[in-house]
């Protein structure tokens, strides 16, 4: 990544989707710049377009208008495979629904991103980070054998194991109780600080948003600075 430029930059981004009655504009006039190692919270009500914006910034989808740069690359015109190759090893994700593969153990889930990049030391590195998130004793457990909080900690370990430059988190505590939510958030910010990762976090939890360096508001598809 070119360290001189912002790792994430959106210019005049909009998203329109076709619906039965014509088309629906779900995002419009989005301008956003996220600096390296910055932590940004995107907050807003359900249906305001937060997750759609996160998907666009991460290159999971393409905007209908405007330009997006990710890790120094203009991903607006790239096809999905090219965007995937930019994500590989550089971008990590944490999801509200954890997205752990049910047939893989905790260790295998965490090793997966390393295996995709062809790392030789996937096992030891995954074990190390699982120990770091407090699950050293549970590496052979399957997701179903773990509690919600533990599953999200596995997901965080998986997100950080490749030492990504950028981490996208979509409601990371949304499915957790207050206590577990706090623990997961602590872990997320601690690892973020350790690795100097750029963090973009979507949440409707004001407390979680408050722990970020900056906070922006989504309302009806538009972005407002807090």
């Amino acid at each position: 990544m070119n360290q001189q430029t912002s790792p994430i930059r959106a210019e005049n981004v909009g998203k329109t989707v076709p619906v039965a009655s014509g088309s629906l504009r779900i995002l419009q006039d989005i301008d956003l710049k996220v600096e390296a190692a910055e932590t940004l919270a995107i907050v807003g009500a359900s249906g305001s377009g937060k997750s759609t914006l996160l998907g666009l910034l991460a290159g999971l989808d393409r905007p209908s208008e405007g330009r997006i740069r990710l890790a120094g690359y203009d991903i607006t015109t790239l096809d999905e495979d090219s965007r995937a190759s930019i994500r590989a090893g550089r971008v990590g994700f944490v999801f509200q629904s954890f997205q752990l593969l049910p047939n893989l153990t905790a260790l295998e889930n965490v090793s997966l991103p390393l295996e995709i990049t062809g790392a030789d030391d996937a096992g030891p590195r995954a074990t190390e980070i699982l120990e770091r998130v407090g699950l050293g004793e549970r590496v052979t457990h399957y997701p179903l054998q773990l509690s919600g909080g533990e599953q999200q900690r596995v997901a965080i370990a998986r997100a950080f194991v490749t030492r990504p430059d950028i981490l996208f988190a979509d409601e990371p505590t949304g499915n957790l109780d207050t206590e577990n939510g706090r623990r997961v958030a602590d872990l997320l910010f601690a690892l973020n600080a350790e690795h100097g990762t750029t963090l973009v976090l979507v949440t409707h939890d004001a407390e979680l948003a408050g722990r970020c360096g900056r906070c922006v508001n989504m309302e009806a598809g538009r972005l407002y600075s807090s």
């Binding site: 999971l60 999905e80 190759s85 997205q99 047939n103 997966l112 995709i116």
Partner: protein, 834 residues
């Protein structure tokens, strides 16, 4: 990702999935499909080869060549070059004498290697216990039929003379494998060693001798030899194999092979249904994984590579395991059936193994690739929005590819394009009709929902709500039922037809030369001893001498001059009705205007050989006079139906003034054979022919064919059953989740049971109807085009199958969803949430 990374990651992910148990259904479907396919393949291949070997015993070799002249020595040289065994026989009519009596006999001299296939049967005392022997009489010995002993008034151990040589009669001959069918018109047999032939001095230049060489060897070499021979056949030389020599047996074997092909095909279609179903399920289960892998940086091609490689590995595993299961099943079956099967079953062939492996790859890739291709297109945003599914491929493309694949596979496996198109066409029509039918039924059900009892209404509503899945699943069940019904119905029809070929009580003895004054005593004799005797037929012995005034020998081509039918007396009979098993191929049967005239119906193959046409005048010589008859019809005769059959049948009254005798047949149990001694004493002038050995041989083969067909049906049923279970299993996740939810809302066990039951039973009922309809269509086409059987709707299937299918699929559904009741709902809901 680099290809090497894909290669490393794909099996690792597959192994992890296998370990979690998620692959077992797909693999099970594949293993069962390949297993039943290869089991049928191996079993049918081995049994069929075994049966063919047995059947060849009936003609004494693989190939028979006959002529009225000695064969060119080059023939034997070529046979030797191709490692084909040869046995030669000579047959001629001559007189056997004892010094007091003489008898016209048919002598057969045989070499040491005769017979090449099958065995001769002899007894050491008159009507004693039979034994099978592999070679003919030794030098100086003669083996004779029982009637020779009766006619000449001698006993075993005494001597007869043939020409200038004397022979000690050492055995009674009861069966020779290559005797042929038209046994009752033959003169009694005397068999001698070929080495003694010359010394008898019977064969002189100009003598009429029929030479018959038997050949046996490796099938490829034999067919090569046959091709070689056909190019060099001299006029009057004929080659025949089983097909030509024993049409009924050959037909039974052919139909059994066609049936096997069809059963294989059905197993294949069941495989396709099962694998496509499990494949779709497999693919849908991987949407989340694919989306996640995409988020983590995998390209579309990486995803495709990973899953295609997994499919290849699965196909390999399924192929190996399926082959193993198939091999074990057929070996077990052959072991269990043991004594009922042909002797000397040949070893296992490589072909079913290879085709099983090939099948694994083709079926798995062909039928799951369309689903797996969708994985490539899973949008990565699915990690954020669960409702995003990949776009479907063009339905026309998917179905087009699948249909082409099925047709190609069917064609490869059956080698029969009509059968293939019949099955495919039938299935396509069924699917179209069913799709329309289902739409109608859905509308009807939706409308009549308020009328349905409240207890089962929820189940029916479920059935309606999951319309897409329900239609797919109902079709899958319907096609499975259809396939199984086709195999079942066809088997019933074929077996009935075969059993009719040789009924249990088919006559096993023929009597000739019953004189007019003996007919009543004969009836009394048989009735008193409880012998099951058939009607007597009046027979006139006559020789065909002219066709349209021209001597027969001048009328026919040079090579047909030696035809036995014009060189001996024929049995002529009359009949009011067209004899059973005869079919008119030209002309008409008797009319009122024929009374007072002499009309004849001629067997069609003889007519062709001798150039006889409708309207021709045939002149016969009987006793001391010539008389003529006009040909009014030609008939196809089933020579091997074990009833008296005739070349020439006349209209009633035509033979009244001619010297006649009677012929008949009867059935006698083997343990009552000694009665024949008594019979011959009471009727010394009759000629008795025993055909029970021939009959037994044919019955054995037919029995084996039936057994093979029954066993194959068993495989198909097992395959169908497992496929049905796997299909239910793949739809379970959603049902489990719903069931658990309903339970948390307070639904009781009873309600859930009724819900599940009514949903699956509705599906079963519909699938049963689809299955019967489809089977009727396919059967109608198959009967019409392939098996030449008469089609009539199978009412029992309409009455029985839909309710039975509702019951079984209902039970299977309840059994499969027992987890809803067995596990705490919270656990099921958590699993579903993950």
């Amino acid at each position: 990702m680099r290809p090497s990374q894909v290669l490393a990651l794909s099996p690792r992910l597959l192994w992890r999935e296998w370990r979690s148990g998620e692959l077992s259904i797909l693999l099970l479907a594949l293993v069962v499909a390949i297993g039943s396919h290869t089991a049928i393949g191996h079993f049918a291949d081995r049994i069929s080869r075994g049966m063919t070997i047995n059947a060849q015993h009936v003609i004494g070799g693989d190939l028979v060549m006959s002529s009225s002249r000695p064969f060119d020595p080059a023939v034997r040289e070529e046979a030797a070059r191709l490692d084909i065994e040869t046995a030669s026989t000579q047959r001629f009519f001559t007189v056997a004498g004892t010094g007091e009596d003489i008898l016209l006999v048919s002598v057969k001299s045989v070499g040491d290697s005769y017979p090449l296939k099958g065995s001769l049967r002899v007894t050491r005392e008159l009507y004693g216990a039979e034994e099978a022997v592999q070679s003919g009489p030794g030098r100086g010995e003669a083996w004779v039929e029982a009637r020779v002993l009766h006619a000449l008034g001698i006993e075993l151990g005494q001597e007869i003379t043939i020409g200038e040589s004397g022979f000690r009669v050492s055995r009674v001959l009861t069966y020779e494998p290559d005797r042929g069918n038209n046994f009752y018109s033959f003169n009694p047999r005397v068999m001698i060693n070929q080495a003694d032939l010359e010394e008898t001095g019977v064969i002189q230049p100009g003598s009429r001798v029929w030479y018959r060489d038997l050949f046996a060897g490796d099938a490829v070499q034999v067919s090569r030899f046959r091709a070689w021979l056909e190019l060099r056949l001299n006029p009057g030389e004929h080659i025949r194999n089983l097909d030509e020599d024993r049409p009924a047996l050959s037909e039974a074997l052919d139909k059994a092979k066609q049936y096997t092909g069809l059963a294989s095909l059905v197993a294949l279609l069941l495989a396709a249904v099962a694998v496509a179903n499990s494949g779709r399920h497999y693919s849908e289960r991987h949407y989340d994984t694919s989306a996640l892998l995409r988020c983590l940086g995998c390209s579309q091609n990486d995803i495709l590579g990973i899953y295609v490689l997994q499919l290849l590995l699965l196909a390999l595993a399924g192929g190996v395991l399926g082959n193993l299961v198939g091999w074990l099943s057929q070996a077990g079956l052959i072991m269990v059936l043991g004594s009922l099967l042909p002797e000397n079953i040949p070893g296992i062939g490589i072909e079913p193994v290879l085709s099983g492996m090939f099948l694994g790859f083709v079926v798995l890739l062909g039928f799951t690739l369309p689903s797996v291709l969708r994985l490539r297109a899973v949008p990565p945003q699915r990690v954020l929005r669960k409702d995003l599914t990949p776009l479907s491929l063009s339905a026309r493309l998917v179905y087009g590819v699948t249909l082409t694949l099925i047709v190609t596979l069917m064609w490869i496996y059956t080698g029969n394009i009509i059968l293939t198109l019949g099955m495919t066409g039938g299935s396509v029509v069924v699917i179209a009709v069913v799709a329309l039918g289902i739409v109608g039924i859905f509308r009807l059900l939706a409308r009549s929902l308020p009328l349905i009892p409240v207890q089962v209404r929820a189940g029916v509503r479920n059935f309606l709500r999951r319309r897409r899945e329900t239609v797919a699943q109902t079709m899958a069940f319907g096609l499975t039922i259809m396939a199984m019904l086709v195999v079942l119905m066809l088997r019933t029809e074929l077996i009935t037809t075969w059993q009719e070929t040789v009924p249990e009580d088919a006559p096993n003895h023929f009597v000739l030369n019953i004189q007019v004054h003996e007919t009543e005593p004969w009836a009394e004799f048989t009735a008193r001893r409880g012998i099951d005797a058939g009607p007597l037929y009046q027979v006139v012995r006559g020789r065909l001498i002219r066709i349209n005034g021209t001597p027969v020998r001048d009328h026919v081509s040079k090579e047909d001059r030696e035809d036995e039918s014009i060189n001996r007396e024929l049995n002529l009979t009359w009949s009011e009705e067209l004899p059973t098993d005869n079919r008119l191929t030209a002309g008409r049967w008797w009319q009122a205007g024929d009374r007072g005239h002499t009309r004849v119906s001629v067997e069609d193959e003889l007519a062709e050989r001798l150039g006889i046409a409708i309207g021709d005048e045939l002149t016969f010589f009987t006793g001391d006079r010539n008389w003529t008859a006009k040909v009014v019809s030609l008939r196809r005769v089933k020579w091997d139906n074990f009833n008296p059959n005739f070349y020439m049948v006349f209209n009633p009254g035509a033979l009244d003034t001619l010297p006649a005798s009677w012929i008949g047949s009867f059935f006698l149990e083997p343990e009552r054979k000694k009665l024949l001694v008594d019979m011959m004493r009471s009727f010394p002038s009759i000629t008795l022919l025993e055909v029970d050995a021939v009959l037994r041989q044919i019955k054995t083969i037919i029995g084996q064919v039936i057994l093979a067909v029954e066993s194959i049906l068993l495989f198909v049923l097992v395959a169908g059953f497992v496929v049905t279970l796997s299909a239910i299993h793949t739809s379970m996740n959603e049902r489990l989740q719903e069931g658990a939810l309903v339970r948390t809302l307070g639904a009781g066990r009873g309600l859930l049971h009724i819900n599940q039951w009514s949903e699956f039973a509705s599906m079963g009922l519909l699938a049963g109807l689809i299955g019967v309809l489809g089977a009727e269509l396919v059967i109608a086409v198959l009967y019409w085009r392939i098996f030449e059987l008469e089609y009539s709707p199978t009412w029992w299937a309409w009455a029985l199958v839909p309710p039975l299918s509702a019951l079984l699929i209902g039970l299977a559904g309840i059994w499969s969803s027992r987890r809803i009741l067995a596990q705490p709902p919270i656990r099921i809901l958590r699993e579903a949430g993950a």
